[in-house]
Symmetry: C2
Subunit: 350 residues, 2 copies
């Protein structure tokens, strides 16, 4: 009989091998054992379920299987920690994006707040419609109109001032449908994926079409992702010493659009390594997933499919935001993980 | 008498307090003690001198004093590890840069290697002069000529192919004056600063005018700085699926110049936090040092001054590379650390 078995049997019967514990202590031992029996499954549950907000299904199992595969020392699929790069889209992947990208809602609020200082906007679209309260008409001008609004809302201040402006907005603004602060419209199941990956030696990055400075105002606190691990779109910033104090001034000029084919370019520029795992939700993420999946060795590509009209929104091919058409077809063709929000997620928000 | 003193005195006399070691073992004890006496100062030296290649002087003391100041728990100057961002210029700060930036020497070699595929270069400057072997005439065209050479040498290949090309060049090319591989012309004292900062919770970044993909080919192995912590100049890269396999193709078009006022802009874009320590050697680093030094709380700004014509090169205000004029004046005016390579550094290269 192996020693360990003998010890445990001795203990079960209230004996300690060294004879220090007498049979008279049996009552105490039984009580302690009862507590331990209750405690062990709970402790084990914490260890074995890193994704408690995910229903048990193919998506959850695929995430866990991938992490176990690349972290198993000695396995041919083992990936060194330095190469465990995981990239996440933000809008629609880590937080909601309806009825419009939250950064657009910020820009709309900001343009309205700035309007008194810009009388010329009264006669100039898309600003005139925005100021009248007609966001839909303002955005009818398409991407060009959107970029004008974004530029106007993001320029003319220093980077330090901009951080304060965004933080103030996030602290006070509420989502028109849910009434929640925007930072409380992050997806709890995805927060668990971020934490699970980091606990397994991954470095998590955001790679989003959103503005890099906008995201930095909340990503560290909300997602645990530090500023230097955020890749995003950006406007030109210029160094200014005219006041005697160095400042970085935000210009009304687009510098880089981190969307679609811009995402692998942004990954190359900012990260310089090919990720082994990528998470998105729209056609804007397709090239990022293609780039990730085409690397050698184990790869993971996951799309969040917005299927839950009751708890969140249901949209894909026809949506004006989070347009998901080619990506949906390619995910199915290539066997990428397609998260069904309605059935895969126990909860949506924290 | 404290217990420890008594024990050591007992040991010195060849007695063990428990009586296990008899006086007959004295010969052995004396021998062991002699070894220990020799070993202890060496071990202590390792602990207390993180910068053994630096002569004891104001520069070394300032580096150590700053690190101790920001890492001392409970001190008003304590900086949380997340904010311990240190940025380093590369050319002239971490490795040599004479007679030309090493990346220019790479580009010259590359243009010559590519010349047979580009008959049109025979009649086009700056290429014609380069192919004839007259680098000086080719570079007489100034920054425009230089950028044309850089673009030609860096474009038309995928990012993956480019990594191989640079690594092959670094493995075989030798410096015209020293005969060393370029990666053996890094500064040993600066390698020690990098390691010392990291050992104290700093995250070390390169912020260089050099090409980001060029530096990534050697920075991790040479400096211990991973790709995602390298900020540099870049060319446009485009995502290409025309072969069926996703590739990132390098274009002959400048995207971002990470030099001068571009350095704080690059820091903002890539890192998103203001560094607390910055290291440079030329006017191209001045705005980075200004930006770093102007932050609140403890700040550290250091310039390497190339003063050693015998072991390296001596140059500053009149140099065509590493031009150091306004920066030299400002360093003196603001009391930034000015490393005198000749007197501060015991050795130059590893």
């Amino acid at each position: 009989m192996p020693t360990s078995s003998r010890i445990s049997r001795d203990r079960r019967h209230g004996h300690h091998r060294n004879g220090v514990v007498s049979t008279g202590s049996r009552g105490l031992i039984v009580a302690v054992t009862a507590i331990l029996v209750q405690a062990v499954p709970a402790a084990r549950g914490l260890q074995t379920d890193p994704l408690p907000s995910w229903n048990d299904g193919a998506s959850k199992r695929a995430i866990v299987a991938f992490v176990e595969r690349v972290t198993k020392s000695g396995s041919p699929d083992f990936v060194t920690p330095a190469e465990r790069i995981a990239v996440f889209d933000n809008d629609g992947t880590l937080w909601a994006e309806q009825p419009l990208y939250f950064q657009v809602l910020f820009a709309v609020d900001r343009v309205r707040a700035l309007a008194p200082k810009h009388p010329e906007w009264q006669a100039k679209e898309p600003f005139a419609s925005l100021i009248k309260g007609d966001t839909k008409a303002a955005l009818a001008g398409g991407e060009h109109a959107l970029m004008e609004i974004i530029a106007a809302a993001h320029a003319g201040v220093s980077t330090d001032e901009f951080q304060v402006i965004v933080k103030d907005w996030l602290a006070t603004a509420r989502h028109p449908a849910t009434g929640r602060p925007y930072t409380k419209m992050v997806y709890q199941p995805m927060l668990e994926v971020l934490a699970y990956l980091r606990a397994n030696g991954f470095k998590t990055f955001i790679v989003s079409g959103g503005g890099v400075e906008f995201m930095r105002a909340f990503a560290e606190e909300t997602y645990g992702i530090p500023p230097e691990q955020i890749v995003g779109s950006s406007g030109v910033v210029t160094f200014d010493l005219s006041t005697g104090t160095p400042r970085l001034m935000k210009q009304a000029k687009v510098e880089f659009v981190d969307d679609g084919p811009g995402k692998p370019a942004g990954i190359n520029r900012f990260i310089g390594r090919r990720p082994i795992a990528a998470f998105g939700n729209s056609d804007g993420d397709l090239q990022m997933l293609q780039w990730t999946a085409a690397g050698q060795g184990p790869r993971f590509a996951l799309y969040v499919h917005h299927t839950d009209a009751a708890r969140e929104w249901a949209y894909d091919r026809a949506s004006h935001v989070g347009h998901f058409d080619k990506g949906l077809d390619e995910a199915k063709a290539k066997g990428w993980i397609l998260v069904d929000m309605k059935t895969d997620w126990k909860v949506i928000y924290p």
